[in-house]
Symmetry: C2
Subunit: 449 residues, 2 copies
């Protein structure tokens, strides 16, 4: 662990302790006299209860449900720390809740749960469905995460999202759309090597295909090498990881065998979502790629290959998962505003098409600003992109008939912007009035200089 990372952990430890967590709940209604409890609570509250009894969907209009999601984990794959359990995953879930609120105006409740099997996980998620307008799955081991996402998307009437799959896929597709544009290539002709076949790349492969890539042009590589239908573990995969198995059947039409170098040879694009580098991808392998190669090396904290190495080896465009390099493939561009848009139309699900619409809107935003090799995707602080993505998602939900409410692009863009801005302004007000304390400012300098 680098010295800086160590200091960052210490700082985070101290700040989490000083603030005692990161979130609170707060009433958004006034209480001016005791009589007001008779409206917000018994006996008056029986009114809204009776309305919802007649039409359960009114729970989205008369409670905070419309804007509230659960951030659920079983703690089986927290960050890069492995299966550390629900309690230990809590700070991540609460951090995600913070991002949801700060970036998307979404009220999110961290919900680390203790379950033994994927069936138990599904059971609990279904049981808590009435409490939430959506569910964000987080930090769940693969292949369990595929089963959970598939099953819950099918069985619940609220959006279910696994950020490690869909969030990453959305941001990746957004960046790829513009990268391909810059090098004058087309998605439906591009040869794409996917390094790593976990939550992110399995979903990315599926979404790329849905967005127009030819399945045969994709090559997936997992820890055992290139996926192909004759690989000796196919039978085992079929039962243990049918999602990977299925991709093995339809990708890699040239039946390339081997490892990462063989997969990358002649590829137009490499998307690495594997393990921290450097050195997972070697310079010489990049050299073997097609002209104007596109390299997404997204492992954290260290990309599979350093951006400058990839460039030196001939890559035209390089993206990573890090904010200190250009072209950050960042889930935070997706999940807050995808949910913003989905919640605002009371969507029953987030379809792949809604996800693709979000990616396209992200790409379009960057394109309008002027894309170049070091700017293929918006930056996190380009605040005006969030309401646009929310609007694109909401409109697609309406178009596909999965929304409980209708809206237009312009209307939702305005709504989303107002909601997101309000959170920031509230925080500023509370910060100014001393309710949000300044430990952060005081300690950051001390630890990080």
């Amino acid at each position: 662990m680098s010295e800086r990372t160590q200091k960052l952990y210490q700082l985070a430890n101290e700040l989490h302790k000083l603030y005692k967590g990161k979130m609170i709940t707060l009433p958004k209604v006034p209480v001016t006299e005791q009589m007001d409890f008779a409206i917000w609570y018994t006996p008056g509250v029986a009114g809204p209860c009776l309305l919802i009894k007649e039409n359960p969907d009114l729970s989205f209009e008369l409670t905070w449900r419309w804007n509230t999601i659960a951030v659920i984990t079983d703690g089986t794959r927290v960050l890069g720390l492995g299966n550390i359990g629900p309690e230990a995953g809590y700070p991540v879930m609460e951090g995600k809740a913070l991002l949801f609120k700060y970036l998307g105006g979404v009220d999110a409740v961290p919900l680390p749960i203790r379950v033994k099997t994927q069936e138990e996980f599904v059971f609990v998620a279904k049981a808590v469905e009435p409490a939430f307008g959506g569910i964000n799955l987080e930090d769940i081991e693969s292949p369990k995460c595929f089963y959970l996402l598939d099953t819950l998307r099918k069985e619940l009437q609220i959006p279910v999202w696994h950020d490690d799959q869909q969030g990453t896929a959305t941001a990746t597709l957004a960046g790829l759309i513009n990268a391909l544009k810059l090098v004058g290539k087309k998605l439906d002709q591009a040869k794409i090597a996917l390094i790593g076949a976990g939550a992110a790349n399995i979903c990315i492969a599926k979404i790329l295909i849905k967005a127009g890539a030819k399945p045969g042009n994709l090559i997936l590589v997992d820890s055992k090498g290139i996926l192909h239908p004759e690989r000796e573990d196919m039978k085992k995969l079929k039962t243990e990881n049918p999602w990977k198995y299925e991709l093995a059947q339809i990708t890699n039409e040239e039946r390339v065998k081997g490892g990462i170098p063989e997969a990358m040879k002649g590829a137009d694009v490499v998307i690495a979502m594997s393990r921290p580098g450097p050195g997972v991808i070697k310079k010489e392998w990049v050299t073997q790629m097609n002209k104007d190669a596109i390299v997404f090396a997204c492992a954290n904290p260290v990309p599979e290959i350093w951006p400058w190495e990839a460039k030196e080896a001939g890559a035209k465009i390089v993206a990573t998962g890090r904010s200190d390099f250009p072209n950050q493939i960042n889930n935070s561009l997706a999940f807050p505003c995808v949910f913003r848009g989905a919640l605002d139309v009371r969507a029953k699900t987030i379809t792949d098409e809604m996800l693709i619409a979000a990616a396209q809107e992200l790409a379009k935003y960057a394109e309008e600003k002027g894309i170049h090799e070091e700017y293929i995707i918006p930056k996190m602080e380009e605040w005006d992109v969030y309401p646009r993505v929310a609007a694109a998602v909401a409109v697609k939900a309406v178009e596909q008939g999965v929304a409980r409410r209708t809206t237009t692009y312009q209307e939702e863009r305005k709504t989303a912007q107002e909601i997101i801005e309000e959170t920031r302004k509230m925080m500023e007000t509370l910060f100014g009035a001393g309710f949000i304390r300044k430990y952060l400012l005081e300690l950051k300098k001390q630890y990080l200089g």
Copy 2:
């Protein structure tokens, strides 16, 4: 339904719709630059995760868990509306969350769940245990609620509270302590008739016994009449409602048979938690009670007997569940500060002794202010009582060895007061800045005059 109630429902409907629910989540930490996400989220957040991995109890120190409870219902007995389902119960749960925050500074998350059996309910509660510092059960049908409370108290390492049982018992005991004092009687000698044998009175009976009442001096009456060991439904009760069965075995030592009038005859106290009156308890039955009779008639919205009728019939002290009469037996005096105290010492449970300590502190507060026939229990707006009750509860938890932290009465009183006051001040600040909108003020006049 009275015209006023009807108007109150309409007003509540409109306000719930305008505000879109009653609660929000909000960060309590600053976000001043993108770098801060590296502390609150990845990579820095791995620091606190690793600490909790080593010691799961640190989840109470490094996340909002220490101050966050779930308000859980299955929607099987919502207010007086019966089994209307989890979605329809949502406005009550969110209202309760508001009361928890406003009165006790407790972050509460409404969690209406869809489950079919009591075993499923237990399963879900156990699964979500890692997410919360406590659980408030609400609006659950009897006798299921007894099973749930018993089982969850046994199996969880966080406080579990069923407000319809324990909240009501705490407030009732508080009022009764002072009422007996005023008439110069002792709890261990008082003859007490309990009208209604649902969640409230079953718990009240158990707590009265724990607080010193003689079991044989209690007489419980349910919809079939007075409970006694020879009643013909005993065998059925033994399997279907062992809680009631058990009380039937140890109460009513004189083997009185009959109904409410027979139970009340010669009683010093009647505690009615049954069904809306008036006329459930008749004046002539009060006349048959012992001298200086104490009548608690707590059905809502209309007490089992009007207070003036009880007084005319000779009752010395009368209490109801209503805020517009003297001596309101009000759960809100208990649950916010019981949890405040329990959470502040990271209690693993709320014991009966902690509950009794809360009742005694409530009684003591009123006594110090000067009790009389129309003031046996603090009023909800006597804000300074809450931190005192929290302190009494916390100290008892420490004393009984069920707390993860230690404290003193004075220390916890100060802590509780600061936490509770902060919520109020935050709300004032947000109200003043226009973030909490004024629909309530505008519409209240219009509907209620």
